[in-house]
């Protein structure tokens, strides 16, 4: 008897597990399955195809004559090279990825494999960072490290006189720093998975087999975590290449341009955007991302080899760090510090009538006026909260059920062409947020059907965006359900609808919750798509914060950020708790063998 079972589905759904052989339910295709397949494929294509097509068409046609042309690329290339946009993009993304990967992986290892203290605190703060909109966290850093009024700068320069020149977060260095911190949290959450599921006896065997602790770490632990590590690294690189918030808030004022912000500036900030050129930029960005995605794909494919959990001998033997334990503890504390510090700063600023550096004397002017103002101002903030809940909740709900059905079709049936579902669903991974936003905009802007200008266009764009990840989380979920459980439902006389309602959905609950949570949070914290597709009455909360910031209402922006942080923080932890609780129940029910 084998005790290996599928790795638990995790928060991010980024890691897929294919170690389990796929069993088909029926040898013949059922008509219901064909119909379901047709509907799902049409749905997926509808999400993915229009934005991609409109981008490609716009990039290669002349706006006036509608003829095939490469002029757009020819025009933008010199600018790109001259302004250093491409090199900036690469330097920014690669540095942030390398730093966050090293930092996050070491933290994950310390938290899962050693007896370093503060594990829980690191986990909680990393999750908080993952759940909160990037805009909020970046604003916090501006308050801390802004060149003129940054709190840390004021201490280091004026109070203590340590520095002669203030640090400037609105520079390439600052951008890398902030992006790296944001991604460290994500890398940490992702790397915890392989370290946790690693069989402790593999390390113990190494120690009994005469390896020193360092040797066991290098020759066994690290190698075992490597496939998962590659996958995490590549996905973070992809995401950093397309990152928008940090380059927009820190890079644009500081004159550091990357591809994503160039697209935005050309589209948003000019009266008559040159769509051809914007599309050309977008396609360039996609071309940079594609090879990395291929590497990511390769890395996740081989991953099933290593990440096995054995049912027997559940020992959580952690490496005893001995006298280095407290040094490790201090290192562990650095992440909560850099995550919580900007948030505290936001709270401070939100209490001030105008921006002031924290001091005893300023404390006297603290009040809740900014919060009252949020509710006062024609209640448009409440509209934004409602729109965010509607768009994020709606897209997550539809998507989670559609992808669950799609995964079931791919794994359990023999419908011809079923892998097309898998293929279409990964395409959005290659499309940067800002590019996707632009694509969706052009695909629907001229249509007679009123989609543009409603919340529906946002829902469409976000479903396309979250498609790859919900698909993945459901994929592992369906794989982990043993085929016999479904077969017995059929034998007991259930039809397809009953199978889904009474067997699959309950068993899939943890995967569904994980996928939903991921899709919801990703949508609620996203900025570029929300910016490009906003319309009157459909302004997502991240857009609202951005707008307040843009017009200089710093304290109001801070107050709104605090409110959103509290709401999303609570929601994130509730969802996390739910998927944990039901995860355990359903994992037991799914009949691990």
């Amino acid at each position: 008897m084998s005790h290996s079972s599928v790795q638990p589905v995790q928060v991010k759904g980024l890691l897929i597990d294919r170690q389990r052989p796929r069993h088909r339910l029926f040898s013949r295709v059922q008509p219901v399955e064909l119909v379901l397949f047709g509907i799902l494929l049409a749905f997926f294509v509808w999400l993915v195809f229009p934005p991609v097509a409109s981008l490609v068409v716009k990039a290669f046609t002349d706006g006036d004559t509608n003829e095939l042309t490469f002029d757009h690329f020819v025009t933008i290339l010199p600018t790109l090279v001259h302004a250093g946009v491409i090199s900036n993009t690469l330097i920014f993304a690669v540095s942030a990825s390398v730093i966050s990967f090293a930092y996050g992986s070491v933290l994950a290892w310390l938290a899962e494999r050693t007896n370093a203290p503060f594990r829980r605190l690191v986990y909680v703060s990393a999750f908080l960072s993952f759940a909160l909109p990037t805009v909020i966290q970046v604003l916090g850093w501006v308050f801390l490290l802004g060149r003129r009024q940054g709190f840390i700068n004021s201490i280091l320069v004026t109070q203590l006189g340590i520095l002669s020149e203030p640090l400037d977060v609105q520079s390439m260095g600052g951008m890398i720093f902030v992006e790296a911190i944001l991604w460290t949290a994500v890398v940490f959450l992702l790397m915890v998975v392989p370290f946790r599921s690693m069989d402790a006896s593999l390390e113990e065997a190494g120690r009994v087999a005469r390896g020193t602790s360092a040797e066991v770490f290098l020759r066994i632990t690290l190698r075992l975590a490597m496939p998962a590590g590659f996958a995490v690294f590549f996905i973070s690189l992809v995401r950093n290449l397309e990152s928008f918030e940090v380059p927009a808030i820190l890079g644009l004022p500081g004159g550091v341009n990357v591809l994503a912000t160039q697209i935005f500036v050309r589209l948003h900030a000019t009266v008559l955007p040159n769509y051809g050129q914007v599309s050309a930029y977008s396609i360039l960005l996609v071309l940079i991302v594609l090879p990395l995605l291929y590497a990511y794909h390769r890395a996740t494919k081989g991953q099933g080899h290593y990440a096995t959990i054995t049912g027997k001998g559940l020992r959580t033997a952690r490496l005893d760090l001995g006298r280095y334990r407290w040094a490790a503890g201090i290192f562990m504390l650095t992440l909560p510090l850099v995550i919580l510090l900007p948030l505290f700063m936001l709270v401070w600023v939100s209490l001030m009538p105008f921006y002031r550096i924290p001091s005893w004397e300023a404390l006297g002017s603290a009040s809740l006026n900014n919060y009252y103002a949020l509710v006062d101002s024609g209640s448009r903030v409440l509209d934004s909260l409602a729109a965010t809940a509607l768009v994020a909740g709606g897209s997550a709900t539809i998507l989670v059920f559609a992808t669950a059905a799609a995964c079931w079709l791919v794994i359990r049936t023999r419908v011809p062409g079923r892998s097309a579902l898998e293929f279409v669903s990964v395409i959005p991974l290659a499309i940067p947020s800002i590019v996707l936003g632009a694509g969706v905009l052009w695909a629907y802007v001229g249509l007679p059907v009123p989609i543009y200008g409603t919340a529906a266009i946002l829902v469409l764009a976000y479903m396309a965006r979250s498609l790859p990840f919900t698909m993945r989380s459901n994929f592992s979920g369906v794989l982990s359900i043993s085929k016999e459980l479904e077969e017995s439902a059929f034998v007991a006389g259930a039809n397809h609808r009953e199978l889904f309602q009474r067997v699959l959905i309950p068993l899939l609950l943890p995967a569904l919750l994980t996928g939903w949570q991921y899709a919801f949070l990703q949508t609620a914290r996203e900025l570029p798509i929300a910016l490009l597709l906003q319309s009157e009455g459909n302004q997502m909360i991240s857009v609202r914060i951005w707008n307040l910031w843009e017009v200089g209402q710093v304290t109001n922006a801070a107050a709104l950020s605090v409110v959103v942080a509290i709401l999303l923080g609570i929601l994130g932890f509730v969802l996390e708790g739910l998927s944990r609780r039901y995860g355990i129940v359903a994992a037991e029910a799914s009949g691990r063998r």
Binding site: M1, A205, V208, A209, T212, H305, T308, G313
Partner: protein
């Protein structure tokens, strides 16, 4: 520097807590050079914990451990030698084969660690030798994940032996194999251990493994070693009912001591008188339990001249090939007898059940009663054998109800 006859492993007053839970409570034992010593006990009794303490994978809370004359663990003065310096080999329950290395690299690991001074050529030679010893030389290029359970087990064994350690630790190495493979691996493991001559500490919850492989067996319960002896000794002279039941099935009769002549004791069972030898002093009139193993009893039709003889009626026959298991009713109580299959007495036959004086085991009742109560239906209070309630439905679990065994697995089909 071990001399022949000196103990390779010495464990003294070993104590280990997990939080408030006292997992190992003052365990003492010695393993002589070349010996295979087994810790046998039910799940959760602390066998693995003891083994892991010896390996250095757990920090002990009290006591001393010495391997080959070197103190590796001690509570006062505090000594702790890490596992990599203890000169041991270990096979884990799930083998712990590294999936990212080939079979060769797995096995070669202990002699290619940084501080190992074995030359490259020597590494190859010794690894191949170790692989040949477990008959896996043809698979050395395979990945760790591309092996069957039995092959993984051999790789783990080769890896444990390649550095020629002083002590080999085996944690239920056979429990993940299927029944037939387990049986052949049992003999092979024993042969290999004897050939290499390596001192071995073996942990199992399977009494057949323990009895068939070991030089000496220690039965553990709740973190304590209850009895330690050679397999035949411990099987035929268990020190208490718990040990007796753990090593195999026994029939228990509530009895009262009639007369005592040195170690020769006659007891009153129901309306009859039986005789047995006792290892302990017995008082006349004391309530005791008489225990007899099913295979030590035999059946006969007609008159019996044996010292111990009980009248019974065959209630159930189960033919298992090499033997026959009978359930008989004696005074309305079930008794299980295992006989060879030459003659089969049909259900309803009246027979005499006989056993040798030396095969009757006597235990004091006070202690026994408490332990027996859940597993056996003997009711010592009224001094009469009582039929277990479960015999109402004999078809579901034909002959298991009366058997005195704490193990979860069925003993009926076990080979003897």
């Amino acid at each position: 520097m071990t001399r022949t006859g000196e103990s390779t492993l010495v464990v003294r007053a070993l104590n280990k807590h997990y939080g408030a839970f006292h997992a190992v409570r003052g365990v003492n034992f010695d393993i002589r050079e070349g010996e295979l010593y087994t810790l046998l006990g039910p799940s959760g009794c602390g066998k693995s914990t003891t083994l892991r303490c010896v390996a250095g994978l757990e920090h002990i809370d009290g006591g001393d451990i010495a391997i080959a004359g070197t103190v590796v663990d001690s509570s006062a003065p505090p000594v702790f030698m890490p596992p990599n310096k203890r000169d041991i080999g270990m096979v884990f329950q799930n083998y712990g084969i590294w999936p990212h290395m080939s079979v060769f690299d797995n096995v070669a690991f202990p002699i290619t660690v940084w501080r190992s001074k074995v030359s490259r050529r020597e590494v190859v030679r010794r690894t191949e030798e170790a692989l040949a010893a477990v008959k896996l030389d043809h698979l050395s290029g395979r990945r760790g994940t591309e092996l069957s359970g039995g092959q993984q087990q051999r790789v783990a064994l080769a890896r444990a032996l390649v550095a020629r350690p002083k002590l080999l630790l085996l944690d239920e190495p056979l429990s993940n194999l299927d029944a037939t493979l387990r049986e052949s691996m049992r003999m092979e493991l024993r042969r290999l251990q004897k050939n290499v001559g390596i001192t071995t500490l073996f942990v199992t919850h399977d009494q057949t493994e323990a009895l068939s492989m070991s030089d000496r067996v220690a039965v553990m319960r709740e973190g304590v070693i209850i009895q330690e002896d050679a397999p035949q000794e411990i099987y035929s002279k268990p020190s208490d009912l718990y040990v007796a039941g753990f090593l195999g099935r026994v029939n228990c009769f509530a009895a009262k001591v009639n007369t005592v002549h040195r170690d020769y004791v006659s007891v009153q069972v129901g309306s009859g008188t039986l005789h047995a030898r006792s290892q302990r002093a017995m008082h006349e009139g004391a309530r005791v339990v008489l225990a007899v193993r099913p295979e030590k009893m035999s059946l006969r039709q007609g008159e019996s001249s044996a010292v111990n003889s009980l009248p019974g009626v065959v209630a159930e026959v189960s033919f298992i090939g090499e033997a026959v298991d009978y359930r008989l009713l004696v005074d309305g109580t079930s008794v299980i007898v295992r006989e060879n299959a030459r003659v089969i007495f049909p259900v309803g036959t009246s027979v005499r059940i006989e056993f040798d004086v030396d095969d009757g085991l006597l235990y004091e009742d006070e202690v026994a009663a408490a332990k027996v109560s859940q597993v056996s239906a003997v009711d010592p209070a009224d001094g009469k054998l009582e039929t277990p309630r479960t015999t109402d439905t004999p078809t579901t679990t034909p002959m298991r109800n009366q058997q005195f065994s704490l193990r979860k697995t069925a003993t009926i089909g076990q080979s003897t």
